[in-house]
Symmetry: C2
């Protein structure tokens, strides 16, 4: 394959390379006629500009990267397509880059910026410790999307889009309380976690305290560290343990829907029924939740809107038309069949 370059096109059209460059970049200052002639030749010879050269030549690229902690997580992966669509709609190149749990996602972002000359970064998922991570060293605009920022820490003024995990966690537990439940168990994130799961757990505590119900620490369970977080497998293992303790409870709050799917199984295996014996609520609102038996009552995160907002905020910052915003979206309580009134 002898790659066609801009020079070849220039030679063929008998023009200078810069003219070709103008033509393919939709630049001004070029006659319609020349442009069309060049564009035709481009098509005819299947010419595709080389991105590397472009990035090198230009002072900056047009690339935005989405850095995600767990590529595999169904909640995030359902957002990739939308990010691509939204970003391309605004004329940006898009890179999806996954970061391992062991890596510092911010450091990785900084590295990528240098490596690929990114114009902006979207951090998807995970947890940020603004005191440890060198946020101020990120040399381009960035937005945290569904990233939990520890409320115990000084709040960074970084741009972010997401829901209020505490608030929404509280709401769904209040929903259970309103239906007469007082013995409510929870499967939260891994122990010591200060991320998303922690926020929802905090909401759980607040709801109970607000209703004057004593918090029974034994009903607070954490996902296993040796299993992937937020998976059905993890939810199953934790719920099984919980059931085996023999502790009484009438409702269970799983901080993610997939976790709840695992909990369902453990509950069934123990011979109990949902919602007759135990009411279960989830969190996230993944499509699947409507199909399991029984369909699960959950807090639905407005994923589409999150993507749109994230892209809007980021591109605004890149264009300089807006400053870092903190967008907090509302989640929707989806009432389905996994809970009952006591």
């Amino acid at each position: 394959m002898n790659n066609v370059t801009i020079k070849d096109i220039a030679r063929i059209c008998k023009v200078g390379v810069s003219t070709v460059s103008r033509a393919i970049n939709n630049d001004t200052g070029i006659s319609e006629e020349t442009r069309n002639r060049i564009l035709e030749t481009v098509k005819k010879y299947h010419y595709v500009p080389n991105t590397s050269a472009r990035n090198l030549g230009a002072a900056e690229t047009n690339t935005i990267a989405v850095l995600v902690y767990s590529v595999t997580n169904i909640f995030f992966s359902s957002m990739y397509g939308m990010f691509q669509t939204e970003l391309e709609k605004k004329g940006y190149d898009y890179i999806l880059h996954s970061v391992k749990d062991t890596q510092d996602i911010v450091a990785e972002g900084i590295r990528l910026v240098k490596e690929k000359r990114l114009k902006g970064i979207i951090f998807l998922g995970g947890w940020i410790d603004p005191t440890k991570m060198r946020l101020e060293d990120i040399p381009v605009p960035y937005v945290f999307c569904t990233v939990y920022q520890d409320i115990e820490l000084p709040k960074s003024d970084s741009a972010s889009v997401g829901i209020d995990d505490i608030e929404e966690g509280r709401r769904i537990v209040e929903y259970l309380i309103e239906r007469g439940h007082t013995r409510i168990a929870i499967i939260g994130g891994v122990e010591g976690d200060r991320a998303t799961g922690a926020g929802r757990l905090r909401g759980y505590r607040e709801a109970l305290e607000g209703a004057g119900i004593p918090v029974d620490e034994r009903l607070i369970r954490h996902m296993k560290k040796n299993l992937e977080e937020f998976t059905a497998k993890n939810g199953y293992a934790v719920c099984k343990e919980l059931l085996e303790t023999g502790l009484e409870f009438t409702a269970l709050f799983c901080v993610s829907d997939l976790t709840a799917v695992g909990a369902y199984r453990a509950i069934y295996e123990s011979g109990r029924r949902i919602p007759d014996d135990i009411s279960v609520v989830g969190f996230d609102g993944i499509e699947l939740g409507d199909y399991i038996e029984p369909p699960i009552t959950t807090m639905h995160q407005p994923r589409d809107q999150m993507v749109i907002e994230t892209v809007r905020v980021l591109t605004g910052m890149i264009d300089g038309t807006s400053r870092a915003e903190q967008v907090v979206l509302k989640a929707d309580l989806l009432e389905r069949a996994s809970t009952r009134r006591l």
Copy 2:
């Protein structure tokens, strides 16, 4: 951020740029001492080589792209992490690129090769028509992973890794037949589909014919074209229609597990029970299948091994140590609780 470049490092270390280049690339022909000195400076100044420049300077890059049709599909997304791990293990850069249904995935691949100077391509999912798509124009080694090649068409000699959809589809239907089922319905891919779903459907026909059971065309249903393929939503809609026809059947074969999840719901809503009234089998073997109620009997595709084989074949071709292979892996029949003996 004043980006540190190779020149800066060279100047600081009082060496030539090529020496720095050798140091960071682990090239031979450089003293240990100089290398260490340079590497330290690199670390100290947070120097990160610019990929674009690297790609331009070098005759070729070290990048392999994974092109996937439906980024969102849970079956594929569960493989991303593994691809990244395997590819990085062998020293390759990794790009995940999603292709819209409307795009010609092969054409997109060719474009990417020119644009990013790829060293190889992995096509993940979808369907290839070797007569229409310009496979021979792909200028780098490539492997089809879980890509179905229409058996009605002249077989391309492209490298591929996957299971035999016909064979495995046949096996799981034979499993049902062995258990006394003769009225077996199927939810296949969309109508006119010649991809994965078509292969499994073919296996279904073969199994019935092999057992001398007449094929009742009314029991063959196709996923809706207006809904995303292989989703619970689609499976639900199709199964619901099927049940409403009033046709008798004792078993149902869903060509993907997620589809089966939707079918479960439709079956429950109709007041029937699984497997008492209807036995259900799925396909793919996603983790979730073990957690739904009842756990689904399914054909498990060896995803991990597929990834490993795909990377092995591709890198072999790139190194020139091996030629295009067609690797056909066996699926595992996972017997669970969604079927019963008649």
